[in-house]
Symmetry: C2
Subunit: 338 residues, 2 copies
Amino acid sequence: MKEQDKPSPDAIFDALTGYQKTAAMKAAIDLEIFTHLAAGPATAAVVAKRCGAAERGARILCDYMTVQGFLTKTGDQYALTKESAVFLDRKSPAYAGGATAFLLSDELTGAFESLSEAVKRGGTVRPNEGSIAPEHPMWITFARAMGGLMVPGAHGLAELIPLDRQRPARVLDIAAGHGMWGISFAKIFPNAHVVALDWEPVLEVARENAHANGVANRFSTIVGNAFDVDLGRDYDIILIPNFLHHFNFTDCVKFLKKVHAALKSKGHIAISEFIPNPDRISPRGAAGFSLIMLATTPEGDAYTLAEYSNMLAQTGFESPTLHPLPASINQAIIAKRR
Amino acid sequence: MKEQDKPSPDAIFDALTGYQKTAAMKAAIDLEIFTHLAAGPATAAVVAKRCGAAERGARILCDYMTVQGFLTKTGDQYALTKESAVFLDRKSPAYAGGATAFLLSDELTGAFESLSEAVKRGGTVRPNEGSIAPEHPMWITFARAMGGLMVPGAHGLAELIPLDRQRPARVLDIAAGHGMWGISFAKIFPNAHVVALDWEPVLEVARENAHANGVANRFSTIVGNAFDVDLGRDYDIILIPNFLHHFNFTDCVKFLKKVHAALKSKGHIAISEFIPNPDRISPRGAAGFSLIMLATTPEGDAYTLAEYSNMLAQTGFESPTLHPLPASINQAIIAKRR
């Protein structure tokens, strides 16, 4: 057998040491290595000085980041890649480093420490139903850490909706979190009023974002659990961004019935979700997302288009269409109230 | 800009969720999913039954493993890849799943939890100098978990040494751990006597392996710290497998002088190590190894061939040569005592 045809355990060891890659990226973000390199290429000694680290530490971390493809190295000069300049320099408008606060929160990392048990049980082994526990503080962290990342996708979703920009419209944003999905609607539709629904401490973040985006005068809130509270009525659009994946099929159907009742006739529902192909193994990001639901929820999942279409058909919606969203692994399903 | 030319944060999120990949691989190994699939393709329901898991858990984990390239999926049937059949089926002679006990030990994972601090300090922040602490129990775990993986490389190294198989030879195996480097010499050279040096509880593992490999009658031990104990003398070969990377350059030189004194004239030293190219960013595995030394040792490193050649020139060795080792990211440096 030729050497290159022999099976190699490299990918297996890469997976088993994935936690080291996470730790390195977190350290580089926390030490602002990428921000310190934004001005131009620099040696490990210079990087070390700028981020208050030892030269040996900066050299080894920068080499590792280069090996992983997040820096380049020419001679002894490290520099940003196109991706790290856009997403990891704190001064970049698309800075994504803040996502570590959520993605590496104790709640998420802790759920993966007992993954074997979750596989055995078929659902989270975290207390109180994991991430869907009432008033779970992880959603405050989520709202603070992840809002910025959603903006391109949220704008893309708003652009897809057949609404007249000149006429008043009522938009409900379910489990609004940071609020950026609804706020993007308010920015694109100057006569839209957005109602954001979430738990009170999460809505504080959404209200801050509404102020910061200049739409606070067309922004109100409903406090509480989306399954329990009165949603109000006569909405033109109801947004359900990354909410349904937390629940089992039956509860999704139950919730969509409630949404149906709150929409105007011919109103639209817009679901933003991680939607794998029917094979459930592609595309990579959406298909892999189901593991997070296994680790953190009792019965959540990454549902396919067929499954969402089935839920929608059962609950009085018609003509569901699937749309990619810009700069997002989410896709949108838009359907009309029958 | 074309969509495919736009910078994507996917690789960054992949790094930030690397711990999830580690957790999934560990769960699949712990639940023996790969061993249960060795008989042939099976559905999630069958896998679940065989490994005592919920079907939902098995389905989501198998899909995730497929996304990561460790299983295939055809219809609803999962199957092993070539690599997972060789390295992840517990019944395979090259089974590598036992490595989790070391690679995911609290000592190693704990060292990466405080990586930012290690970068600032320029060395481990673990107590008592981290992994080089006297009698550190992680080396017992290492010896039990990693020995099997070293066999092809150790055999390859033995084959490289210009020893006469008909004549007696004395081989010293420094920090022997599992003992497989020296034991491989004893198997290939039927007249070689191997002396393994390590701490007593680690040598228990090496002795077990010498028995299991039928070379116990040509195997003896020296108990203690390699820097402190009397190494004996007149060795034909001294093996230094994955030991020098734990120490700074000066301590490596100091130790190599001691090795020189223990070798016969014209005897050989054989160093097995993670040896990056001069750029320190390739090859991937060897270059990335320095991060583990930053996290777990005060001053260890992945040294280049030039650095090892420098150490060897200073300590009375000549003609160092570099050799790849089969099925290993280690390479060997062989040099002759002047």
